[in-house]
């Protein structure tokens, strides 16, 4: 499942030069222009997301066969800073497997990743299977060190600290809009051994997801319901982002991980109510940062901001 779409990558490379030079600036000035034209106060919420960063603190090595020199926390921080300076509000998410893959994790056991993510101002994350690599006790210590919530709705923890620390969902309020965010993890059988799991059980994922989404939408009044997923885009067992999207209600967006998929563009799936769910996933190792801009108009209506036509090629 961990295949890499090279075509998509090169597309990404080509577009990124233009994107970095002009995307945010031009999108913003276009919006400002529209605002002036209609006399409205439009605000933009930028949602930034990564998945499967796998302890890639530094960029990939220059002799990497596929992605030489790409990624790195310091670049991601710079990009996040740029977006923060241009959007009215920003949310930064990571969709699991932050840990494991470089000696940084072997030596510092995830402490460095958490402290850098604290510094970055990450807003929420969900668990990947590799977060369990050093067992639940160690994981609970990392979760306790984080300034941001670890969200998961479909795991039941036996470990008392994780039970206390992990929440199924969190509601953010940005530009006056309530945004509900939940976390969903991959089915752990065969991926993580029982001693590492320490009695962690996977619940009926889709039932829990729909119930959590219903609660966020109707009880919490969330205009936007987002899933941070480490289920994988498609999995042989059918517990994955595409299947969830099709069988869901009240979910607007699934930001995914686990399958290391470089999606050339977001995918749109029709849910049980005939509404559209957007799915996005951005590869691995912090090579890309996913970005979804939501516009809030003066009547508090929401819309995705399509990026300029020049970048569509």
């Amino acid at each position: 499942m961990k295949r890499i779409d090279r075509r998509a990558f090169f597309k990404c490379l080509g577009a990124s030069v233009v994107a970095m030079a002009g995307l945010q600036a031009s999108a913003r000035s276009r919006i400002d222009g529209l605002n002036r034209a209609i006399g409205a106060r439009r605000r933009v919420i930028s949602i930034l997301h990564t998945n499967d960063v796998h302890s890639r603190i530094d960029p990939l090595p220059d002799d990497h066969p596929l992605y030489p020199g790409l990624g790195g926390y310091a670049r991601r921080q710079a990009y996040i800073n740029t977006v923060r300076s241009q959007s009215d509000a920003t949310l930064v998410f990571e969709c699991g497997d932050m840990f494991q893959g470089t000696p940084y994790f072997n030596l510092y056991k995830g402490q460095l990743e958490i402290s850098l993510m604290n510094r970055m101002g990450v807003d929420a994350v969900t668990f990947g299977n590799h977060e369990f690599d050093n067992g639940v006790e160690m994981l609970a210590r990392r979760v306790a060190e984080a300034d941001f919530p670890f969200l998961n709705a479909n795991y039941e923890f036996a470990n008392a600290d994780l039970r206390r620390l992990v929440r199924p969902a969190h509601v953010f309020e940005r530009c006056g809009i309530r945004i509900g965010v939940m976390g969903l993890g991959v089915v752990l059988d065969g991926l993580v051994t029982e001693p590492q799991l320490g009695g962690t059980r996977v619940l009926d994922t889709f039932a829990v997801a729909n119930e959590t989404a219903r609660r966020l939408r109707h009880d919490e009044g969330c205009r936007l319901v987002i899933v941070l997923s480490h289920m994988g885009l498609t999995m042989p067992n059918g517990i994955d982002d595409r299947t969830l999207a099709a069988r869901s209600r009240n979910i607007d967006m699934i930001l995914g991980g686990h399958t290391h998929t470089f999606m050339p563009e977001p995918e749109y799936v029709t849910d049980l109510d005939g509404r559209t769910v957007m799915i996005n996933q951005v590869g691995y190792a912090g090579i890309n940062v996913g970005r979804v801009d939501i516009e809030v108009d003066d009547d508090d209506r929401l819309a995705l901001v399509p990026h300029p036509a020049a970048l569509m090629a």
Binding site: L13, A15, S16, V17, A19, L34, I57, P59, G69, L70, Y73, A74, R75, Q77, A78, Y79, P103, Y104, N106, L107, L112, R119, M120, D133, N134, T193, P195, R217, R223, L224, V225, N250, D252, M263, E265, P266, Y268, T276, M278, N280, V282, G286, I287, N288, V289, G290, R291, V292, E295, D300, R301, L302, A303, L304, V305, P306, H307, A309, L311, M312
Partner: protein
């Protein structure tokens, strides 16, 4: 034309497509200096500890089927470590033999200086050493899996494979008694049924808490302290009938 505002109460994604939905973290982005400064001491510390030389290899040690110098080296040191652990702490029973999976040995040890970095490449996983207690019947089933796989790291036992099946097998020079209890030193990964070793699932496991990587480092340091380099022979522990 551009804004596809869809009505309340909830946000809906319109029939629109985002053309660019990600930014590539390439060299056009100047890294954030504060973040770089935060990372630097960790990077330096890792570079220092990874580049330190812990011993020498007298030969190239690689891992391959059915039997290889590297898998023999690691299987032997795991068996010895658990025998020592049993004697010193009693936290594990005295093992009869050991099994390590070839797939868990991710890089060779090249002749010459061995650094910490080498060992991290050989064993990047956080595997720990355990001792599993199995019946002879279960052990035979584990050997069936090993034969299907074409071999794995083995110490304290001999296996002859014929066309992916066990032709003959012995532990400590004797045939396996189906009703006897055997103690197998291995990684937690294998004890938990990894790489097809499902025969071990549910068997009593004694955890040493010792990381495989640390055991490899300890062995290399110990041999080096005695003024020697590491080496290992392929000596017919696992053979193919047809060869």
């Amino acid at each position: 034309m551009l804004m596809l505002a869809l009505g309340a109460p909830a946000f809906t994604v319109a029939q629109t497509r985002l053309s660019v939905s990600r930014a590539c973290m390439d060299s056009t982005i100047a890294p954030d200096p504060a973040m770089l400064a935060l990372i630097a001491p960790y990077r330096d510390s890792i570079a220092t500890s990874l580049s330190s030389i812990i011993g020498q290899a007298d030969m190239d040690l690689e891992a391959y089927a059915p039997e290889s110098p590297l898998s023999n080296f690691v299987a032997d040191l795991i068996l010895d470590k658990m025998k020592e652990e049993a004697r010193l702490t009693g936290s594990v029973p005295v093992p009869d033999m050991s099994i390590v999976n070839l797939g868990g040995l991710r890089a060779p040890i090249a002749k010459g200086d061995i650094t910490m970095s080498t060992v991290f490449q050989v064993m990047p996983f956080e595997n720990t050493i355990v001792v599993v207690e199995v019946t002879g019947r279960q052990l035979r089933s584990a050997f069936d899996n090993m034969a299907r796989r074409g071999g794995d790291g083995l110490s304290g036992a001999h296996l002859t494979i014929d066309g992916g099946r066990v032709a003959s097998v012995s532990v400590g020079g004797r045939p396996i008694d189906p009703d006897a209890t055997y103690r197998v030193a291995t990684y937690n990964f294998i004890a938990d049924g990894g790489d097809g070793y499902t025969a071990f699932v549910g068997c009593p496991v004694s955890k040493s808490g010792i990381m495989v990587r640390q055991a490899i480092i300890d062995r290399i340091v110990r041999i080096s302290a005695a003024g020697r380099g590491i080496s290992a022979a392929v000596e017919g522990r696992i053979t193919n009938e047809k060869d």
